[in-house]
Amino acid sequence: MLKNKIDDVLYLVEKPSRYIGDEVNSVKKEITDDLMRFGFCFPDVYEVGMSHLGSHILYGVLNEIEDVYCERVYSPWMDLEIKMRERNIPMFTTETRTDIKEMDILGFTLQYELIYTNILNILDMANIPFKSADRTEEHPIIMAGGSCAYNPEPMAEIVDFFSLGEGEEVFVEIMDLYREKKKNNWTKDEFLSRVALIDGIYVPKYYDVAYNDDKTIKSFGPIDAKYPETIQKRIIEDMNTAYYPEKFIVPYTDVVFDRAMVEIFRGCTRGCRFCQAGMIYRPIREKSKDVIVETANKIIAATGYEELSLTSLSTLDHTDVKNTIVDLIKDNADEYVGVSLPSLRVDDIAVEVLQEIQKVRKTGLTFAPEAGSQRMRDVINKGVTSEDLDKTLSQVFGLGWSRVKLYFMIGLPTETKEDVGEIEDVGNRAVWLYKQVPAEDRQGSVAVTLSVGCFVPKPFTPFQWFKQNTLEEFKEKQFYLKDKILNKKIKFNYPDPKTSILEGVFARGDRRLTDVLIKAFELGCKFDGWQEHFDYDKWMEAFDSCGVDPQFYNRERSFDEILPWDFIDVGVRKEFLIKEYDNAVNAVVTGDCRDNCLGCGVNVDLIGREC
């Protein structure tokens, strides 16, 4: 009945194919009473969710377990949501169109702070109370993971338990325990008190927080000594033997990353000081060339994709990347399967690799110098010089590219007006470099896009103590740049800094934000990550009515303050972050830690080995 109701509604909405499921390689299972049903929720639209590699991996991990059926759940776009609410259609799973309230566990992946209201929307559309305390035994257990879970506190009263770190192994352990729950008829509490003892699991209700008069945290800890004081993230030690799906789901509609994805390593050794991913995904763990090539070829065979993307942080840092790409191209060029890479660092290897890649298909090019001035690049430990930039751009222009996108940030610590201004210089320089290419080698007119984001300090980075720029400061810098850029060949892209401010609040937020979040949702906030739906005024109204000052979360913090996420151990030691903070302020470059161990502690503490 629900299935037919949904079918009728799909005739009336935009891009219905994103809701039908039934894609090649999606999993079908017979529904039995023994089956543990898991709703894997990506609280954004299908096109975004399907582009997220981690979801594909965990979908595979869960469905490999015989008595587990993992189905996907995405946020419906506004037009469908309206129809669903009109016709009393509850939130449903993509695979079987089942009411998500019938799932045993709903797992939300937290990929960016600005989708938290969408989580509430999904729960609301399923008639599930927001707060853990208000839910009964009849409701599914709500869990969450993903990069934002490293500061779980803003969602602490909503989520029953968080999984920190890489999920391949811990998901199996969670489901093993859930099987026991089913068998023994445990209550939720009986389950949660046990799941809290699994490494990497955080059950917020077993932890208490007290505050000082100045609203900073006075103490934080477990309510019972049996629960761990600190929770260490989980990692997979050997990527070569780790689970990796070959039967990727092939979407019908155009998704954001509509291509085969092969992860080639985890972690990053570059040590960029602004970069949360570079800290939380440590240590570096590579897959071997043979494993990558074999996996890639299997994925192509199982999906029929026409493009293959190698994914990781700083992809070209893989020690055998050139040979890997050469092999992949050799294997696939006859079938016109192209190979693409995410944004590139600015260095020599990029050019060599690009020469290979363009043999099949020519893709757009994005480079990330991150900052305009050399001083700022030293502050953030980017390790890229102006000479590197010049050389790389000259070479790619010489190879026939005429369009490049350059990615920067403003609002970085110690930044001056001059530093911001130099972003424009980089753009001009790129245009000038293009004109140095002999006319006969040029392909059309040059187009340089300067994409300039607003910096958000994130937990577990050396910049976690820094004060974020205010709205006014961001705007002033954006206008300054906008006025300064006169070159017609340069396009200037910049976001509304209001979204960055809100992101900053939630990134470094604490439990007191749960009520703000619920209030904002009640006022109508959702899809906050979509500029056209983001309503800053409503958010401010929500903060106001909850008596919470957003500035409190964006302020500068002292090294001895208890941070809301201090009880989580990502493997990178606090002393290291403080040392790097000092280096940043003094514009000292420490460089890639492959060549020069900086003692972050991740290998020693997490795996028990030297780097």
């Binding site: 009728d8 090649v24 092939v250 029929g304």
Partner: protein, 233 residues
């Protein structure tokens, strides 16, 4: 040059695919089937596949055709026998034949036949409905104002484009019709438009969002203007 002509069904969930999504879905299916497809030249090579008559989102078909150009022949029995392993549910190949290079199919199509299901607000008897239908097709001309490409309104008479228009069944408020309409460059009438013109003329109120269309035949014409299928060309 090897050209494989395939007649296919697109139904159930697959009706929600747009034409562009269908193209992508079939390209990927052919890759999974290990087809050695011929590709276009240039920066962004595309396999050479052409389609007879693109359908709008929501419309099913049991009779559409595509031509795919191959570098190596595939075994057609294997293709039909094993297709389920490669195609999503709702897409099915009914028939496949190798053919000589021919005119683009899109230019060949002259007629198409549809089953049209409408939900009416009132319940009609078959006789009264037949009366309405006879009166509708019996008009001297059936006209509407069409927006031209130059954004001007132009009166068109679609009566010559209605080859057949019959009642299949009436059950409660479910009216099922069958129509054959002219399709292609020498005149084109969409079944959605025909249903709209008929309902407006006969003062039939439809339940909104409940029209269902399914293409059941696609034809071209031979030298004697007789209907033939695209395999008979």
């Amino acid at each position: 040059m090897i050209i494989l002509r395939i007649k296919y069904i697109k139904e159930n969930n697959m009706k929600f695919l747009s034409h562009l999504e269908l193209i992508k879905t079939l390209e990927r299916a052919f890759r999974r089937m290990n087809f050695k497809m011929a590709f276009s030249q240039g920066f962004n090579p595309k396999p050479k596949i052409s389609y007879a008559a693109p359908l709008p989102v929501g419309v099913e078909t049991e009779c559409d055709y595509l031509d795919v150009e191959l570098l190596e022949k595939v075994d057609l029995k294997d293709l039909l026998d094993n297709q389920k392993d490669y195609l999503p549910n709702g897409l099915e190949f009914v028939e496949a034949r190798y053919r000589d290079k021919s005119k683009k199919m899109m230019a060949l199509i002259t007629d198409s036949e549809y089953i049209v299901k409408l939900s009416t607000e009132e319940v009609y008897t078959k006789d009264s409905m037949q009366g309405k239908l006879d009166a509708f097709v019996g008009q001297r001309e059936i006209t509407y104002e069409k927006m031209t490409k130059k954004k001007k309104l132009k009166l068109v008479d679609v009566k010559p484009y209605i080859q057949k228009f019959d009642i299949v069944s009436i059950e409660d408020n479910q009216l099922t019709l069958k129509c054959m309409v002219t399709t292609g460059s020498n005149g084109n009438l969409k079944p959605e438009k025909l249903a709209e013109l008929f309902c407006t003329y006969a003062e039939i109120n439809r339940v909104e969002g409940k029209d269902r269309y399914r293409r059941v035949a696609l034809y071209t014409r031979d030298r004697n203007k007789q209907l033939i299928t695209l395999f008979e060309v």
